[in-house]
Amino acid sequence: MLLSHQTTSKAILSGSIMLAIAMIAMLSRGNRPQPPAKTPSVQPAPQPPLLVYCAASNRAVMEAIVSDYARQYGREVQLQYGPSQTLLSSMSISGNGDLFLPADESFITLARDQELIAEVIPVAQMHAVIAVAQGNPKGIRSLEDLVNPGVRLIQARPDAAAIGQLTQQVLSQQGKWSQLEQATLAFRPSITDVAGDVVVGAADATILYDAVLHTFPKLEAVEIAELAEANSNVAIAVVSASKQPRAALHFARYVAARDRGLKRYEEFGFKPAVGDPWSDYPELTIFAAARLRPAIDQSLIEFEQREGVKITRVYHDCGSLVAQMKAGQHPDVYFADDKECMENLPELFPNPVEISQNELVILVQQGNPYGIKTLLDLSQPGIRVGVGHPKQCEMGWLTQNTLRAGGVEREVMANLTVQSPSGEMLVNKMLAGSLDSAVVYASQAARADGKLDTIRITGMPWWLARQTVAVAADSRHRQLANRLLERLDSADSKQAFLVEGFRWSAPTGAR
C-alpha cells in the first residue's frame, strides 16, 4: 500500500516535471522571433526587430505595410495591438518599443505631454460619418433622422474613444450635442464596439470614422453636413525610449512615404497625408548663413545620424545665397542670418520661423581702458573704431542703421579706422590690438570671450538681426525637412545657439 502511494506521488511529480519541461521547450522553440524574409539583393539587417505599438483600427493596413517592408528590406517589424490608451499605458510603464501608431492624433498629444515620443510623422486623415447597416434599412439621411425615437443610436464614449470626443466637440459647437446625447441608447468604450453593435443588429446607427468602415463591409456610410468638419489625423511617432531610433525612423518614413505606406493607407479607405516620396537614404540640402555654422552644425550631424539621411550644407553670406536661390538653386531648408534675407524669397519660403536673435554689441579691449559705455563714447578722441562694411555684410548695414537711429553716426564715424567685410575679421583685429573698439554681433564677440570685453548697447534703440528658418515650398522631402526644423528648434539646439552668443527666440522654445 505504502509502496503504491510512493509510486503515485513519484508519478505525479515526475510526470508534471516532464510535462512542464516539454511545454517550456516547445514554447521556447516555437515562439522565437521569425527570421526575416530575405531578398537576394539586400543583406539581412543585424538589428533586433522593431516593436510598433499599433492601434487595433490600423491592424489590417499595417500588416500589409509590414509585409511590403519585410519583403524589401528583410527586417522584422512586430506589431503590438490594443486600444490606444492601453498601448500608451504599456509604453509608459515598460519603457520599451520603437514606434507608436495610435488611433488618432489626440493620443499623440497625450504621449507628447508625457514625453514618451520624439518625432511625429503624419500618415492619414479620417472623417466622421454616420454608419448604418448595408441598405440603410431605417433610411437615415440626416442628424434629425438619427434622433428619431425609432432609431437605436449607439455612440462611442467621448471620454474613452477619440471618435466620441470628436463628435461631442463638433456638435457642441453647433449646439446639437445634447439633443444627440439624449437620443443615444448607450455609450460604448471603443469604435469597434459600436461598429460591432450595428453589424449584429443591436443598433441601427452609430458615428464612426470612414476609414474604419473599410473593415466592416456590412456597414455603409451616411455623410451629413453637421460632421463635415469632423476630421481626425493619424500619425506615427518614434518612441523616446527606442534603442534603435534610426531603424524606427526608417520604417516610419516608409509608412509615411506617398509611394509606399500611404498607398496602402489609401487602399484601406484612409485619406492619406501628403507624404514624402520614398528614399532609402534621402538627401536634404540646407542653405545657411555662414555665421550660423557653429550654432547649427552639431544639430545637423545629429539629425543625419538619427534619421539616416545625408544633409548637404551650403554656408555663405546672405547676398550670395539669395542670388543662388534666385538663379534657381533651391534648397530644402534655408536658415537666414536675418529675416530681411528670407523676405527676399517669400514665395519659396512662405512660412519662416524665427529661431534666434543676434544683437549688436561694442567690443573693447579687456578691462575697458577707455571706459566705453555707449555708442557715443566711441567718438572720444583717439579711439580706433572698426565697424562692418554696410554693403559687404549685413552686420555693417545694421550697424549703420543703428548709429543713424541713435543720431551718433557722424560722431562715431569720425574715429573710424577700418570697415571690414565681416565681424570675425573685426574680432581678429581687436585680438591683434590694432583696434580699440568694434561694433559686432554678440555671437561674434562670444568667440573672444575672456580675451575681450563686451558692452551691451544701451540708452538708444538698436536693431536686432533675427535668424529665421524655413522649408522650401518646392522641397521634395517636406516632412523630413520639417523634422529638421524641429531639431533646430529643440532644447539641444537652443543650448548651442546660447553658447554662440545668440538670443533664443523660437516661439515653441525647447520642444
Binding site: G30, I93, T215
Partner: protein, 271 residues
C-alpha cells in the same frame, strides 16, 4: 392499517430541474447562436490563418504550463492552509484571493510595473534579460499572467481537497515514524489525486479565458504572444466578426474536450 402517504417528488424535480435547465439552455443557446452566426467556410478560413494556428499552439502550451505551475504551488500552499494554524495565516489566505478579485487589467498593469520598476539601479526585466530570459512581451509573460490568476483558483481547490481529507491517516503514519514531509508525500498527496486533477482543470480553464493581463503584460504580437482570447479581440477590432466567432467556437470546443478528458482521467484513477 394506515399507510403514510408519500408526497410526490415531482415538484422538487420540476423546480430544481427547471432552474438548472434555464442555465444549461442559456449556455447551449449561446453556442448555437455563435454557430448560427458563421458559415463552415468562415470556420475553415479562420483556422487556415497561420496567426490563428500559432495562437492555438501558444494557448495550448501556455495554459498547460500555467496549470502545472499552479498545481505545483497550489498543492503545498493549499495543504499548509488546510492543516496548520500559523501566524499570519489569515493574511496569506487573503493575499491568495487578491488575483481573483483584482480586475484583470489592474493585474496586467501591476505585473508590468513590477518588472519595470527600477531597484538598485536595474529592473527585474533588465536583470532577466541579462540572463537571456526576457519576460515582458515574450511568451513567459503570457504564462506568468495566466499563472497569477490560475494559481489562486488552484490553491482554493487544493485547500478544500485537503480539508475534506481525514488527517487521521497522516497522524497514524507519523506515529509509525513518518516525518511531516513523508506523511505529505506518501499519504496526503496520493489521496489528493482527484483534487489535483480538479485543480489542474480549473487552472487550465481559467488560463484559457485570461485576456486582460496578457494584453497589457505580454502584448498581442501576432505569431509571438497572441493567444486565442487575443485573437478574438484582434479579429473583432477590425470588424472580422466571423473570424472572431470562429475562434470563440474553437475555444469552446477546446475547453470542452480538455475538461471532458481531464474529468475522465480523474474519475478513472479514482474509480
Amino acid at each position: 392499517m394506515e399507510t403514510v402517504r408519500r408526497r410526490s417528488d415531482t415538484p422538487f424535480f420540476l423546480v430544481t430541474g427547471g432552474i438548472s435547465a434555464c442555465f444549461i439552455l442559456l449556455i447551449v443557446l449561446l453556442v448555437l447562436a455563435d454557430i448560427w452566426f458563421i458559415t463552415w467556410q468562415d470556420l475553415v478560413e479562420a483556422f487556415q490563418k497561420k496567426e490563428i494556428q500559432a495562437a492555438l499552439r501558444l494557448t495550448l502550451l501556455s495554459c498547460t504550463l500555467a496549470a502545472i505551475l499552479s498545481v505545483w504551488v497550489g498543492t503545498p500552499l493549499g495543504y499548509l492552509l488546510a492543516r496548520y494554524r500559523f501566524p499570519g495565516r489569515w493574511l496569506v489566505d487573503t493575499l491568495v484571493d487578491i488575483p481573483i478579485v483584482l480586475p484583470p487589467l489592474v493585474l496586467g498593469i501591476s505585473l508590468l510595473i513590477l518588472f519595470h520598476t527600477p531597484l538598485a539601479g536595474t529592473t527585474l526585466e533588465e536583470w532577466l534579460t541579462g540572463l537571456n530570459l526576457p519576460v515582458t512581451y515574450h511568451w513567459p509573460a503570457v504564462v506568468l499572467a495566466q499563472f497569477t490568476v490560475a494559481c489562486a483558483f488552484a490553491v482554493r481547490t487544493m485547500r478544500v481537497t485537503f480539508e475534506q481529507m481525514d488527517p487521521r491517516a497522516e497522524a497514524v503514519a507519523r506515529t509509525l515514524g513518518c516525518t511531516r514531509g513523508g506523511a505529505f508525500m506518501e499519504i496526503a498527496l496520493p489521496q489528493a489525486w482527484r483534487g489535483i486533477v480538479a485543480a489542474f482543470t480549473i487552472a487550465w480553464a481559467r488560463a484559457l479565458g485570461e485576456f486582460g493581463p496578457i494584453m497589457i503584460f505580454a502584448g498581442t504580437t501576432r505569431m509571438r504572444t497572441e493567444v486565442l482570447s487575443s485573437s478574438v479581440f484582434l479579429e473583432m477590432s477590425v470588424g472580422n466578426l466571423d473570424s472572431a466567432v470562429a475562434v470563440s467556437l474553437l475555444m469552446v470546443a477546446m475547453a470542452a474536450v480538455v475538461l471532458v478528458v481531464l474529468r475522465a482521467v480523474g474519475t478513472g484513477i479514482n474509480a
